[in-house]
């Protein structure tokens, strides 16, 4: 009984260590290949592919991210106002929405949207290529799958996700402004003035730094899940689900880590 428990724990630990090892090797390989995706100095085919990825990950996701941020901004402003108006502190709604979005909600909402939309797509695309031997075909043609498939996705997400975070920040804060306009007749000019007083550049930068980390998690988890597909089409479906679940979980975990880190730095 005890030996069986130890066996289970040991196997599970080894499996997780193997996963961490796999993702570390993949990140190392991707950094090595990232230069090939850059314009002028890299391979023009990779750069074109990266631009296509930016469009697919960023431009096509922008309506979804914008609407999600607008809704969340409204919800946050309404929930905050319902409590704060009892203390006559409605002005603090502006601070709350602005700071919450730039520091936290903007990057997080954008990351969750990209994780659900593109993380699963990365996994399904690569997974189906594994099943149909296309990855093997790339390798036999002396084309590195990391450079050909992963690096353009990585660069695309590294650029698209911070842009989506800025869009999310803007839409969330805009929603707060609309709420204040209808509930307290605050003019938009006054609202914007209060917003700029509430947020500082560091909040925006820390939010964007988080976006870069989230992009790394989403791309690498999505692609690794795809590369690890073994079997048939059902395995591709499972890998896509697993990519979304793992990347969303890790994004939130990383967010906790970053927030704690920035809180400690700010506290000192």
């Amino acid at each position: 009984m005890i030996s069986s428990l130890f066996e289970k724990v040991g196997k599970s630990t080894l499996r997780h260590l193997e996963y961490v090892g796999g993702i570390t090797i993949q990140i190392g390989g991707a950094f090595g290949s990232l230069g090939q995706t850059l314009p002028l100095v890299g391979n023009r085919l990779r750069w074109r592919s990266a631009v296509r990825q930016m469009s697919a990950i960023g431009v096509e996701a922008s309506p979804m991210v914008g609407i999600m941020a607008l809704c969340t901004g409204f919800i946050l402003a309404m929930q905050a106002a319902s409590e704060l108006h009892r203390f006559g502190a409605m002005n603090l709604v502006v601070d709350l929405v602005s700071i919450a979005f730039t520091r936290e909600l903007g990057p997080l909402l954008a990351a969750i949207a990209v994780s659900g939309r593109s993380g699963s797509a990365f996994s399904a695309e690569i997974g189906s290529m594994v099943v149909t031997e296309e990855i093997d075909a790339l390798r036999t043609m002396a084309i590195d799958p990391l450079e050909f498939l992963l690096a353009p996705k990585y660069l695309g997400t590294l650029i698209a996700l911070p842009c989506l975070s800025i869009l999310s920040n803007t839409c969330g804060i805009l929603a707060g402004g609309l709420f204040m306009r209808f509930s307290t007749h605050m003019t938009f000019g006054v609202y914007l003035r209060d917003v700029f007083q509430a947020i500082i550049l560091r909040d925006v930068i820390t939010g964007l730094l988080k976006s870069v980390a989230f992009a790394t998690i989403i791309v690498h988890v999505g692609c690794l899940e795809g590369f690890r597909v073994r079997g048939g089409p059902d395995a591709v479906g499972r890998s896509a689900t697993s990519a979304v679940v793992k990347s969303t979980f890790l994004v939130i975990l990383a967010d906790v880590g970053f927030t704690a880190l920035f809180y400690l730095i700010e506290g000192k």
């Binding site: 290529m129 031997e133 093997d136 075909a137 036999t140």
Partner: protein, 281 residues
């Protein structure tokens, strides 16, 4: 062509300067041993057909020969490169000299047929796009698909997909051409067309050809020599005639299409009757 004899799996053929040389190759996946000390040499310019039933290890051997897997024990030399010890640069260079046509073609569905064929040229050469287009057209014409370049792989029939895969494998003018189950899933006429294509390519380009198959008609049509795998071991290497006339029980079983276990319907009926009686009591 080298002199060939029907050999036991542990003896080694002697070919001077072989294109592919497999020596004592052992492959295991976990507890399961898939290849059990394979020794095989393939001469330059010859067509070697690897035969064997499902699970005999022929695809695993092929994956090792084309450098997709590193040998766990033993060695493989392909065109002078030791796959067990070679660095990534040597391996990359070697891979450019090997063209592989996979069982299900492995064409990229996101690209047109001509983009599939042009991919290795775009990746590994600095040729202008006009030259790449011309070369792509020539490769497609070689396999009889000159008019199908603009189509997507999904729009092609099974035989056309396989020919497109051959065109892509030919893109960099390889010295070795490898086919994994070229006839699988094709009707006999299309399969015969593909066999003829392999023969034409071999004659026209003096390539070393390695074919994995269990289609006997196809194997006897295209092979110079054949190697037979059984449960991870090489049980015979020899010419077509030598294999055809072999008295080895496993080779005879394979050639004569004799099943391992013949289902005894009487036994099933007896067990079923007993089950029914047991159920009624």
């Amino acid at each position: 062509m080298p002199e060939t004899k029907l050999e036991a799996h542990d003896s080694r053929p002697l070919i001077s300067d072989p294109m592919i040389s497999v020596c004592d190759l052992v492959v295991s996946y976990g507890e399961r041993r898939v290849l059990n000390g394979i020794n095989l040499e393939i001469a330059r310019g010859e067509t070697m057909v690897l035969l064997g039933g499902s699970g005999s290890g022929k695809s695993t051997l092929l994956r090792h020969i084309i450098g997709l897997e590193r040998p766990q024990a033993g060695s493989i030399r392909v065109n002078g490169v030791d796959l067990a010890t070679s660095g990534s640069k040597d391996l990359k260079k070697l891979r450019r000299s090997i063209g592989v046509a996979f069982q299900d073609a492995a064409l990229f569905n996101s690209m047109s047929v001509e983009d599939n064929v042009a991919l290795p040229l775009r990746e590994h050469t600095r040729l202008p796009e006009s030259t790449i287009s011309l070369m792509t057209w020539m490769k497609l014409a070689t396999v009889g698909l000159a008019d199908s370049g603009k189509l997507r792989p999904q729009q092609l029939s099974g035989g056309m997909r396989k020919r497109a895969a051959v065109a892509r494998a030919l893109a960099l003018d390889p010295e070795i051409l490898v086919f994994d189950e070229p006839s699988a899933g094709l009707d006999p006429i299309v399969a015969a067309e593909l066999d003829e294509l392999i023969l034409v390519l071999k004659t026209a380009f003096s390539m070393t050809v390695v074919v994995v198959t269990h289609e006997m008609a196809s194997a006897f049509r295209i092979a110079d020599r054949m190697a037979m795998l059984y449960q991870g071991s090489l049980i015979a290497v020899g010419s077509k005639e030598e294999l055809k006339n072999s008295s080895h029980p496993r080779i005879r079983q394979f050639l004569d299409r004799v099943p391992d276990q013949i289902v005894d319907v009487g036994v099933i009926d007896k067990h079923f009757d007993e089950y029914l009686k047991g159920g009624l009591q």
